[in-house]
Subunit: 387 residues, 2 copies
């Protein structure tokens, strides 16, 4: 058939054919909400040919990634692995696998990503409830207890590190409350993993997700996911198939586990990258990683204060990975971010959602969390704003 | 809070901490069903720092990817873009965006991936119907017409290139039938894009997906997706939200389109890679790409025949990208694939599903489709099988 057709083949349309130049990427210092710059050794680790996703050499890399990810998150969950997509895919995986229609899912909304969690849970036909705080504030244990008592959810979702507000939701004690109310605890750690103290098992977190391009100093595309045995039990008792094939952990676990059964082709080079990134955390050790992020954040906050610019979040709840900075009166925030990029090759982020136009977002995450970068961003801001 | 807590912090558990060696990847010639080897220039293009997904330089790369993808697929669909995941994510995107509960979806099943399509469509609560052929056979226009007449589907899904069987389903004329029956035509082109003639617009295909790691000579992780205006209309008339947040094209189009509204963080370095891969197709031109794949496939088929080994699929329906080879009587197929990998660093694939144990799968895709690779795989097979 094909060979017969070759003579009758339609003419090739070259409308969309154009000469694209060789890849040229400007050198940016990425101090926005992410992606951050990758560590040079991580970029280098991508610079290999892919191998087969069932190659014994690849299976070995997978095991190493799982183990190092457990260390970085401080969990012993067997189901700890990177999802084949960016952070939002890992986020969706937590809900897709555990939510069944009409399950009550309670979400603490104090920023953009709480809203996203609600939106996702609704798509899996959950009965979604929410509690709210102003963007930049966090929930107290008492508020969480009252909400659990009122809504009796199957899952409580909280954003540990709200990338839109710069606030850190304390999780100590929340897991105990969730056990008391027979509910799973789901935590967004997108902007905390590899940057801030996280003790998933100690805190009794049942479901968590993150990304590669922030605290892990890796390009985006391979995203940490973990679920506890309690969460697995809920998945295993499902009456319906997981309503998402690509992210179905009841299938994916057979590939990452003993069976090594093919599910989908792995993003092989991204696995090289995240493995190299997790190696960096292991080499430096978590204590030092967390300490470094705090020291650089304190340096940034002090420098901003010297310029008469203030942080949006009270000191005790600030993320050390991402700082929301109040735009001073009379300053056009987007003109500043544009000039920072155009004149200094530094990316900082604009405000998102409710904080749009009110704050900038400055990230010091992973390999970028270094004193010289703090100096560079402060100097550039001074120059751009004439302070 | 964080600073107060630092004294009361739990002890860090080092159970999962281990010294992972530097990345070491064996040099494989990947002649299985995928991934194939990446072109050196594609691997090199990944070797840059990520930049922001709203950086003007990145937006420019996105435009180039879209345009070159339209050329490669021979479509003018505005909604042509790479999905942030591997091929199965793009596959799921076609169904997730267009299927509403109780829509009749008719799938032509003549291999593994037809079954996967059914499984996915069911998860989006479609009323799934199917027609079947033996693994390795294809459907005739008459059979397709009869099935459309009987089932009156909203979507007809066919696998253009069945990776599990090596058969090519002709699509000429199918699009006209689908218009006649007011149905969308969905085509799996995972193993044909960048290797075999595809004329999506000419053939009136409404939805298609592919992957990066086969005909495009790119690592896996960025996966072509396209939908026609007819498919978009169906999506826009939905009564319910797309039941998958990460793949929701009604949101994603605002990022790829004029608005540039943030949806999810893009897998930036994978975008560098697929752009470089599509550039190769543009530089070589489609005619030559398709011709090269056919010439190498014919060389392989002739060489196998000389060894007394036969192809599973009749010549006229064979994929030129992936050949299913019948395992001769008395030969242990897995022992051969193992020896090919261990002794020759060549990966070929085992049979899948119904063809498990009955065939090998030999891929000559993208940059790997070269005469010297055909010689290498034939020589290795001869040596391993003692022929």
């Amino acid at each position: 058939m094909t060979s017969t057709l070759s003579t009758a083949r339609p003419k090739i349309d070259e409308t969309h054919l154009h000469a694209a130049p060789r890849t040229q990427v400007p050198e940016r210092l990425l101090l926005g909400p992410g992606p951050s710059n990758a560590h040079p050794s991580v970029v280098e680790a991508m610079n290999y040919q892919p191998i087969g996703h069932l190659d014994p050499a690849y299976l070995q890399l997978m095991d190493e990634v799982q183990s190092l990810l457990r260390y970085t998150w401080q969990t012993s969950n067997p189901m700890t692995l990177p999802v084949s997509g960016t952070g939002s895919a890992a986020m969706e995986a937590t809900l897709a696998n555990t939510v069944e229609p009409d399950d009550v899912v309670l979400v603490g909304v104090n920023g953009y990503f709480g809203h996203r969690m609600m939106d996702m849970a609704e798509r899996y036909r959950a009965d979604v409830r929410s509690i709210h705080k102003s963007w930049g504030e966090v929930f107290s244990l008492e508020e969480i207890r009252a909400a659990l008592e009122e809504h009796r959810p199957r899952i409580l979702g909280l954003v540990h590190a709200e990338t839109s507000t710069g606030a850190c939701q304390p999780l100590e004690g929340v897991g105990d409350l969730c056990r008391e109310y027979d509910c799973l605890l789901l935590a967004d750690t997108v902007t905390s993993l590899g940057g801030m103290p996280l003790f998933l098992d100690e805190w009794k977190v049942d479901l968590a997700y993150s990304c590669s391009q922030k605290g892990l100093s890796c390009p985006p595309g391979s995203s940490p996911f973990t679920m506890s045995d309690r969460a697995l039990e809920k998945m295993d008792r499902r009456q319906t198939k997981v309503a998402n094939w690509y992210l179905d952990m009841s299938l994916i676990r057979n590939y990452w586990g003993q069976g090594r059964t093919y599910h989908h082709t792995a993003p092989v080079n991204m696995t090289y990258a995240i493995r190299a990134a997790l190696r960096l955390v292991a080499d430096e050790r978590l204590e030092q990683v967390w300490h470094r992020h705090r020291a650089c954040a304190e340096q940034l906050w002090a420098g901003l204060e010297d310029m008469g610019i203030f942080c949006h979040v009270p000191h005790e709840y600030r993320l050390t990975t991402l700082t929301t900075v109040r735009v001073p009166d009379g300053v056009d925030p987007k003109a500043v971010t544009k000039a920072m990029l155009a004149d200094h090759n530094i990316e900082i982020g604009n405000g998102l959602g409710e904080l749009g136009g009110k704050v900038w977002r400055i990230g010091l995450m992973g390999h970028n969390s270094r004193p010289e970068n703090v100096d560079r961003v402060l100097a550039a801001m001074k120059q751009v704003m004439g302070r």
